[in-house]
Amino acid sequence: MSSLLKITDLHVSVGETPILKGVNMEIRQGEVHALMGPNGSGKSTLAYALAGHPNYFVTSGSIDIDGVEITELGADERARLGMFLAFQYPVVIPGVKVADFIRHAVSNIRNPDRKEGEGLVPMREFRREIRERMEALNMDTEFARRYLNDGFSGGEKKRMEILQMAMLQPRFAILDETDSGLDSDAVRVVSEGLARLSGPQMGVLIITHHERLLEFNRPQFTHVMLGGRIVETGDASLAHELHANGYATVRERHPEAAADNAQTVAAVTT
């Protein structure tokens, strides 16, 4: 049976400011969903809320996997249940080597009951596996010895996110603008990599402003977010149309949400 990630009437606030205002979405393992929407519409907020960022408060609604509520779980527990977020802005952790970090992560994901200090995945197999994955992503294996994202270029950071996804093999992956900041060769490598990795075992939510990633990973569903709500859902052709024509027509069709979107952006910028 394939698993189902279900988001029901999700309301999320940052501090006192409500950002998401009732998001509904269902992602089944094996499906590819695209999430689009203008800047500030709440896409990353949804991604963080799904991953369990402590500053993003779920004020009402729920997130569940196969009926098991995860809204109250910590980010690490969610990850151990198979959630993965490729960050729009990956975080630098100085002094922590990529290989050590990923080895700890893999050990926890593959052995969800693992406690700190308990065994890690065997070094030799781990080395072989990470080397293969890096080669598939056209990454220099030297990166494994570097400190996590420290001094990495924007594109290198994004590839590092995909490497982690490849190693962790999540059930549900959210890719938050993984294609931005990549040169066109890198977009192709990442797109092909994602296509190879997704398949029936992974449900993917691709947040993007570009079309390339979706060419290789054709979404069954395209969602449009505006003012903290999903205002339209369609198929791949909707993504195509939005790329061609922008969000003007969507705003016209949903004036209330469009006004909300403008307001949130204004509220934060002033």
Partner: protein, 444 residues
């Protein structure tokens, strides 16, 4: 009489204690005479305040010297836990317990090359002409401050390493300073002399036999590095949390010579280290690394001086401190550049990572530059663990606690990367994990 008369018996030792100490010693007159001279300096320094610049934040109010006395009893040679012994092959090793040398060994190969390594007192007597001119005269002088004088009057055992001209000692040497009984005052001295073109690595550590007894270490380290010579010296302070550690340490680096000096502070109730790096010869270089992890109510303090005395010298200091619980760390760093020391590079940096709201760190860098053609930078940061880093790691399935531990280790990693001796890096990483409370260690 002033009303605020200093209670000598609390802050140090009176003449009675000194005379009794001397009466029990069997040693050449020239050594006792040097002690008497130092003791007179000590008595006068006891009458004056400690330099507020250096000691203002070092809380010695509850220190009671009367609680500690030098041991005249033969030290027990019980097993002492060490972090570094047996971790690698050593060219020689020495141990001092309660101020007496209990073990000393040097490989016959090194001995044949003229290397001297062993108990300071014994070797000082045997090689007076060679060693006397350097002992407490070049790097640390008895009149440097109250603690240096106290040490110079009361020192007993110590580690001496002398490497003749051109001899390169490949294997590291190990030195252990230990306390085994309650109430011990111990005055360990470390004297390292590298003649021109010589090379050596000395790894030194301190250890208490258990966690309950109180102890006092008034120590001194003198590192004298000759022309083109290279010394790597590590001192890993790992006393129990009832030990006072007061130390005056100095290194003199001659022409084209290099000194890599690593100071590790893990233990002690209160520790204050005065560390002088004197770049005395042209193009001398020094790299200074500090790793400090304070917990509970520990107070760990450093006063470092990178003193550029000659042209084209280079110094680079990096201290990293992690503080948890209600601990306190003080770092006061100074780069001094004499007028003659043109084309000098001096760097100093201290980074503190606070794991608790109740810990406190004071980092105060400083520059005193009299030359005009120099490059000096200094900086100090104090920060907390970044929540975004924790979340990022958590989103990869790593628990909050484990993430925090990884971040702390990563924080120290930047200084480990500068420590040239692998077993020291490994030992530190293991010890830091222990102090973080990571029980079982991951199987590699």
């Amino acid at each position: 009489m002033t009303t605020a008369a200093i209670d000598i018996n609390r802050i140090g030792y009176s003449r009675d204690v000194f005379e009794q100490f001397l009466a029990e010693r069997v040693e050449p007159v020239w050594i006792s005479d040097a002690r008497r001279e130092a003791f007179e300096i000590y008595q006068s320094l006891l009458q004056s305040e400690l330099d507020p610049e250096e000691f203002k934040r070092v809380d010695l109010r509850v220190f009671n010297a009367a609680r500690f006395r030098p041991s005249s009893v033969k030290a027990q040679t019980t097993e002492i836990s060490t972090l570094l012994a047996n971790q690698t092959e050593y060219g020689g090793s020495i141990a001092h317990v309660d101020g007496q040398t209990t073990h000393s060994h040097l490989s016959s190969q090194l001995a044949a090359q003229g290397v001297l390594f062993g108990d300071l007192l014994t070797l000082l007597i045997q090689h007076r002409e060679l060693l006397e001119p350097s002992f407490l005269k070049k790097a640390v002088r008895p009149d440097a401050d109250r603690f240096a004088a106290w040490h110079a009057a009361f020192w007993t055992s110590g580690t001496l390493l002398y490497v003749p001209r051109g001899v390169e000692v490949e294997l590291p040497l190990h030195s252990l300073i230990a306390h085994s009984r309650d109430g011990i005052a111990e005055f360990g001295h470390t004297l390292v002399i590298l003649e021109d073109d010589a090379r050596a690595t000395l790894l030194e550590e301190t250890s208490s036999i258990n966690n309950d007894m109180a102890g006092l270490h008034v120590g001194c380290v003198e590192l004298i590095v000759g022309k083109n010579a290279g010394l790597r010296y590590v001192q890993l302070q790992n006393w129990n949390q009832r030990t006072w550690h007061l130390a005056h340490q100095a290194g003199n680096v001659d022409n084209n010579a290099s000194l890599q000096w690593t100071v590790v502070g893990l233990g002690s109730r209160l520790s204050h280290i005065h560390q002088d790096i004197n770049l005395t010869g042209r193009a001398a270089t020094a790299e200074v690394n500090g790793v400090t992890f304070a917990s509970d109510h520990q107070k760990i303090s450093y006063y470092t001086q990178q003193h550029h005395k000659a042209q084209g010298t280079h110094s680079d200091l990096l201290y990293k401190e992690v503080l948890r619980d209600e601990s306190r760390v003080i770092w006061r760093g100074m780069i001094k550049v004499d007028a003659a020391a043109q084309q000098t590079d001096g760097y100093q940096r201290s980074d503190a990572l606070m794991l608790s709201e109740n810990a406190r760190c004071d980092s105060i860098p400083g520059l005193e530059i009299e030359a005009d053609d120099v490059r000096c930078t200094h900086g100090a940061t104090t920060g907390r663990v970044d929540e975004e880093q924790i979340f990022y790691a958590q989103s990869r399935g790593i628990s909050e606690k484990e993430a925090m531990h990884m971040i702390v280790e990563g924080f120290f990693q930047q200084v480990y990367d500068r420590i040239p001796v692998e077993i020291v890096r490994e030992t530190l990483s293991r010890t830091v994990q222990g102090k973080l409370g990571i029980e079982a260690l991951a199987a590699v």
